[in-house]
Symmetry: C2
Subunit: 462 residues, 2 copies
């Protein structure tokens, strides 16, 4: 028996034989991520049922010096949740406990494997809501979205996933379990481990359960699509709406290149007679119909050239379709390089105009399609027409981001995809401090090696 088999047997004794997968037909779906760009062979896939089994799996891997890639719904976009080659994939999908909603605290405790759509539905049944919402909601899990600090449409109103994590249960690299799930929103007894683990992309701990904040359920919605005179005007309007309306739920921007692509791909007709410098989709949500307050706030607003208000749910869906069909329309046109960046609000408009020139100069055949969340400075830069291994476009975009004080990853994380560019927007002092934390909590280096930091050799267990 090889040592790999030895570990497989040990893990089978922990999680059951059915939950240790080695057959390539069974492991394949765990080995390639949402982009199809990142893929690697796993040594095996193990699917523990609960926290105790997860801890035992981590201990066994640590003893064997076997690197681990924790995996949730496998909807990542930066290669952070699939093997690079030879790692154990630790799938958390079986950790599906979902406790009753605690309405008094407006919180719920959920296992790592519960999907976002499930927790949303569960919260809504109790008259509340889970405020993280993103396109991959059917597959993305509680554990995966915590590990990656997932953002989505409603960050400007509710914050990213980290802001929803009231408590966490997680397995550390030595198999110890940290667990605080009693739901204390005020707790100043030492370091914020939940906040540190959130967004650490599986490099510090394996999230097994979480206590999550819920928000009031707000079902009355008002939606408008605006044609703006400029991107700068859209950014200004976003600031004004946020100051004036508590009910702003989403503020999305996209551009003529995306509108043209979406209309060509979907057959939708254009919302306005002519093309617009920037399309701005705003949605308010409240207990009482926010249509009047949205209309009042937009009345006479500077820079609004055209506007379309949704008067019913069907019209609302139609307006959203222009924005939501971007991804499928882009994917139908080719395999894009997906760059997900944040800029300071004051520099968002400048970035949007300069990035096209920089791209044209770096890769003449590049075809950018931008869209984003204008309320929080986050733009998704999709670049078509560039070969999969050609990094020139990525480099041009990310260098401009760095020049303007932005971040090379707003939502997607670093994964393995962004490691070469991390130094552009994190200082060496930052990276050194992060590396020290990593080494302190995972001295062997077995948790998701190669993610965030360049891979280092696995060290012997302590």
């Amino acid at each position: 028996m090889s040592s790999a088999d030895g570990l497989a047997s040990e893990l089978a004794a922990i999680a059951g034989r059915d939950h240790v997968l080695v057959d390539p037909e069974l492991t394949a779906s765990y080995e390639t991520d949402w982009t199809r760009r990142f893929t690697g062979r796993a040594r095996l896939v193990v699917r523990p049922a609960d926290t105790a089994e997860t801890a035992a799996v981590v201990r066994a891997c640590a003893a064997a010096g076997a690197p681990i890639v924790p995996q949730g719904g496998n909807t990542g976009l930066v290669g952070g949740s699939v093997p690079r080659g030879g790692e154990v994939v630790l799938s958390l999908v079986r950790l599906r406990d979902l406790e009753p909603v605690d309405r008094l605290a407006a919180q719920v405790t959920a296992g790592a494997g519960v999907s976002i759509v499930e927790i949303q539905a569960h919260a809504r049944e109790a008259g509340l809501d889970y405020p993280v919402d993103l396109a991959s909601r059917e597959s993305a899990t509680v554990g995966g979205t915590i590990a990656t600090n997932a953002g989505g449409m409603r960050v400007a109103r509710y914050g990213p996933t980290r802001a929803q994590v009231v408590g966490i249960e997680a397995v550390l690299a030595d198999g110890q379990v940290v667990s605080r799930l009693s739901g204390l929103t005020k707790d100043n007894t030492g370091y914020d481990l939940p906040g540190l683990i959130a967004g650490s992309e599986g490099t510090l701990a394996v999230v097994t359960r979480a206590r999550l904040r819920l928000v009031p359920r707000v079902d009355a919605r008002a939606t408008a699509l605006l044609g703006m005179a400029s991107t700068a005007a859209a950014v200004e309007l976003a600031a004004k709406l946020r100051e004036r309306l508590q009910s702003v739920d989403a503020m999305e921007a996209f551009f003529e290149e995306g509108m043209a692509l979406v209309c060509a791909h979907t057959g939708l007709s254009r919302p306005f007679a002519g093309p617009q410098a920037c399309y701005f989709l705003v949605e308010c949500a409240a207990r009482e119909d926010p249509a009047a307050e949205l209309a009042a706030a937009l009345d006479g607003a500077a820079g609004v050239v055209e506007s379309a208000f949704a008067r019913d749910p069907a019209q609302r869906r139609a307006l959203w379709r222009y924005r939501e069909a971007h991804t499928e329309s882009i994917n139908a046109a080719g395999v894009p390089h997906k760059l997900d960046v944040t800029l300071p609000s004051a520099r968002l408009a400048r970035f949007e105009s300069e990035v096209r020139q920089r791209l044209a100069a770096a890769v003449p055949e590049a075809r950018p399609v931008l869209f984003g969340h204008v309320g929080d400075g986050n733009l998704h830069v999709n670049v078509l027409g560039v070969g999969p291994d050609d990094d020139r476009a990525d480099d041009a975009v990310l260098r401009l981001v760095a020049e303007l004080g932005g971040s090379i990853s707003a939502e997607h994380g670093v994964g393995v995809a962004k490691v070469p560019w991390l130094h552009l927007t994190r200082s060496s002092a930052d990276i050194t401090a992060m590396r020290r934390i990593k080494d302190a909590l995972d001295p062997q280096g077995i948790l998701n090696p190669g993610v965030i930091f360049p891979a280092t050799p696995i060290r012997a267990g302590g």
Copy 2:
């Protein structure tokens, strides 16, 4: 020249002779905290002017193996910002840069020494507001409130200080500076260092500047004081109001013992004919007058026995006075043991009833006065009639908190005061993980030794 003098000369060369204080008359105000309970002699007090000087001070202290106590406005209550004996007090009060408000991002960059009242006024001039508000606002500083993750009245609506920190500049134990102040609310490039440093009580880094989130300025207020049939009814009502009203800004609870003390001390007349099981003060704030929505939400609400609505600012202040005069009334009656705890919402009422029995059993002469922020499970347990070195009351209260799944410190932090009880509500796995992070970022142990963790000998510099 002694080695202490050698360090003083070195620091004088960095910060200027006027800003290295050794005369006991000058150092005294830096040596005793807000409680008057915690006091110790400093080796010296140094007051650098900016981040570069602060970094040089830290490097000099590290080279000399001299432990450092970082200090902001010195309004702490747990002995975390004053020397235990022989440390260098590093006062950040001169770091008073305050940049113009960035309305587009709704953010501002402020030096560590800016007071909360100053940043509030600065934000309000720009039509925005800084949402952290607490009784010590005149003296408490940006740096100190970040280091302690200060809470206050508006946490249920806006979160604690950590939730406002968009970016941070801080000096690490080796004198390196981490600095990201460009104001990116979405940034998934590695670990959340600002969130980790927030609440670390000066044990991981010295905060020198921060980029802070601002919120819309909401000046129309509606306030009601309610007499509730029970504490449980108050907790239920808090949950209902939070679900129904976006404008709830504060939900405070206090009890008959406090009402009696306040009325006796201040000469205020009682708001209601008879004593109430629980007093519940609710305030809404919005751009438009929220009086009607508050009245509607309270109309027929379960458990409301009596109610008084403020109809103008004078009446509003009068209602708040019952709550705000608690601290001065308690202090006039003696030197209280101040315990600041959080309970899960579902157990708050049980705690409130049991804690009095536990106290009576532990210390018959103990006189508890409770008040708190009912929206987030935080109660301030003040205990009068107990000698300063008598820990029996503290122990009885904190053990009950632990039994009920709470935290021994909601807002004040651990400091040195709570170190002996930390293990009650943080597991050994938690404490081990925190200790590893501390050792990784401050291997010498020079930053605020004895705070959060028991003191260990200072190690030689690396």
